[in-house]
């Protein structure tokens, strides 16, 4: 018998075994359940396609009027003329990047503390507390930011300007504490729990043998972290950071409370600004004309494309650490 024939036989045999599992009564039920599950999956994919379709469809007037120049043009003054979302994207990028830059080292440090340093009891209390930060809704962060954080920032800004004023980013303080800087701080608090909870989970997956081995060779705790823990989890932590970035990019309500709604590009963090999502939240309910609404859909489309790129990036970076599967 040739090897090919044997191969076919073996395959046929295994298929036969799977197919002839005794389930006489269940055929129809099985098919119904499978159909329902597949339908649910199809619905998920259809929804995504529908999101893109609705955005493109409703943005059509703006897309045909502005074309791709919309992304770079910085003029967004609904009462006079709208030409592009450049200034909004700038505000989105600056506030989100600031949040990521602040939250990444903090989040990693919290992850390290919760996974490797804290005593068991502290861990059991502090871990869930940090995760609760993620459950606070964005409207409350916005309201809290406006009433509690804004006065605090108002006092903080002159000091920062005095100390770091030679860097154009830290210009003269804003009059009341409403600024891109404040928005960045609110976003920091919002994405901190995401980064810290995910990185804690990743650090816990590092094999104990590796850590103990390093320690046995005389490495200090920090050297164990730098030499073993961080290198083995770097892709997962980067993915967590990108996830946090994605969350910050799309945050509308909390940012709209504290960023100041001024669509111009300022060098200083302490000047008020505007972000794409927050601008949609501010203006969608009272559009000036149909083109304004279409332009907001177009802005949403740009935001979705950026958001999808970050999702893809997170997934690509995540590699074997599938951090994106965790639900917060």
């Amino acid at each position: 018998m040739s090897s090919r024939a044997r191969f076919t036989l073996a395959r046929g045999g295994s298929r036969g075994r799977a197919g002839t599992r005794p389930r006489p009564a269940g055929r129809l039920g099985d098919r119904v359940l499978f159909g329902l599950c597949a339908l649910a999956g199809v619905l998920v994919v259809l929804t995504l396609v529908g999101v893109i379709y609705q955005l493109v469809n409703n943005a059509q007037p703006a897309i045909s009027k502005f074309g791709l120049g919309f992304i770079t043009s910085t003029k967004w003054q609904p009462n006079f003329s709208i030409e592009g979302v450049g200034a909004l994207l700038y505000g989105t990028a600056v506030s989100s990047l600031m949040a990521v830059l602040l939250a990444t080292p903090l989040g990693i440090a919290i992850g390290l503390f919760l996974s490797m340093m804290a005593p068991r009891r502290v861990r059991a209390v502090a871990g869930p507390l940090v995760e609760l930060l993620a459950a606070v809704p964005s409207i409350i962060y916005g309201f809290w930011g406006l009433v509690v954080l804004v006065p605090f920032v108002d006092g903080l800004e002159p000091g920062l300007h005095g100390a770091l004023g030679f860097i154009p980013l830290f210009g003269p303080a804003s009059p009341i504490g409403i600024s891109v800087f404040t928005a960045g701080l609110v976003l920091t608090v919002m994405i901190l729990p995401i980064i810290s909870a995910l990185s804690r989970d990743l650090f816990l997956t590092v094999p104990t043998e590796l850590k103990d081995g390093a320690a046995a060779l005389g490495a200090t705790p920090w050297e164990v972290i730098r030499g073993i823990v961080l290198p083995t989890t770097v892709s997962g932590v980067s993915a967590a950071v990108v996830l946090g970035l994605g969350r910050a990019l799309g945050e509308a309500i909390a940012v709209s409370f504290v960023i100041g709604d001024v669509t111009a590009i300022h060098k200083s963090l302490f000047d008020p600004g505007a972000s794409t999502a927050a601008e949609i939240a501010n203006q969608f309910t009272s559009p000036v004309n149909p083109l304004h609404t279409a332009a907001m859909f177009y802005a949403g489309l740009v935001l979705v494309v950026i958001g999808m790129l970050t999702s893809v990036a997170a997934r690509t970076i995540a590699g074997r650490f599938d951090v994106t599967r965790r639900v917060i």
């Binding site: 599992r21 599950c37 903090l106 507390l129 309201f143 599967r325």
Partner: protein
């Protein structure tokens, strides 16, 4: 004694009574290590402090507005009364969302774990779609539902808001069901197979009950998340109507707690802002209680599974 040895001992005289503390490079290394540990501890304290400051800020300001009447009265005028209508509205909108998202989410989780093989292309694509859906900014979800439902029906409605919240909940629900279903031991399914039980009965009477605690946890977390959403409701369920009105027909505008807070902030009255703080406090407490509850249920069901 050689010359070098003499020089060595001259530099570091042996003192048997000296404490065994590291010196030189080792000392530097342990200082660095200690520094990092202290920094990490400080960072964790910062995070907990941030939570306490947020909670405290809301609690202190909300407590002054809070009373039993606040929760069971409708708002009167621009600054008086309570938030009964918004609470009912939020409940209604979230219920609509949950009724749609929970079954679809659980079925998607079932598809990923029970019907698709681990290397299935379709399942990979579906997981990717769920990732992207989970990453969609909620305001974009609002825009989508606005185009899908609000424009054809010509009016914002609680129904549209519910659909938007369903889209927010769906990826969370699917993800958590999938995770929990993966934890159900394969031996349970095999035992059912060995008894000749059909697949759908296995799923309904073995797999799902075993995963019930985890699925419930995921459902509570997703619902709590949706209850606090503002952006989709702002787009789909707020245009042109008053959040202080009492109206619960889902095909018209339905008030909600989050939109109540959002709109109160625009009012020029100090009492209106106080009332909004009260609403914020109630909303936050509900969400935090739901989260704690979900964790307790998860811990209990984990304990059961471990046995």
């Amino acid at each position: 004694m050689s010359l070098t040895e003499t020089a060595l001992f001259a530099r570091m005289p042996f003192d048997p009574t000296a404490p065994l503390t590291p010196s030189g490079n080792l000392r530097r290394r342990s200082v660095v290590s200690r520094f990092v540990q202290i920094t990490a501890t400080a960072a964790a304290m910062f995070a907990v402090a941030a939570l306490v400051i947020v909670l405290w800020g809301v609690a202190v300001r909300g407590a002054s507005a809070l009373s039993f009447g606040f929760v069971i009265q409708n708002p009167s005028g621009l600054a008086g009364g309570g938030i009964f209508n918004s609470l009912l509205g939020t409940l209604e909108i979230v219920a609509i969302g949950a009724l749609i998202a929970l079954p679809i989410g659980i079925l998607t989780g079932l598809y990923l774990t029970e019907f698709a093989g681990p290397r299935s292309r379709t399942a990979g694509a579906l997981r990717f779609a769920l990732d992207i859906m989970a990453g969609l900014p909620t305001i974009i979800v609002g825009l989508f539902v606005y185009g899908l439902i609000v424009i054809p029906l010509h009016r914002p409605s609680g129904f549209a808001g519910g659909i938007a919240l369903a889209i927010v909940m769906l990826p969370l629900m699917a993800r958590s069901s999938q995770e929990v279903l993966l934890l159900v031991p394969g031996s349970l399914r095999e035992a059912a197979d060995a008894l000749g039980v059909s697949r759908w009965r296995t799923v309904l009477s073995v797999t799902l009950p075993a995963a019930f605690g985890g699925i419930l946890t995921g459902a509570i977390l997703a619902t709590a998340r949706a209850a606090g959403e503002t952006a989709p409701l702002l787009i789909c369920d707020s245009i042109g109507f008053n959040q202080f009105a009492t109206q619960l027909n889902p095909f018209r505008g339905v008030p909600s707690v989050s939109m109540f807070i959002y709109q109160s902030y625009d009012l020029p009255l100090a009492q209106a802002v106080t009332r909004a703080w009260g609403a914020a406090f109630v909303l936050m407490m509900l969400i935090l209680i739901a989260n704690v509850l979900a964790r307790l249920i998860l811990a209990r069901s984990r304990g059961k599974m471990g046995r």
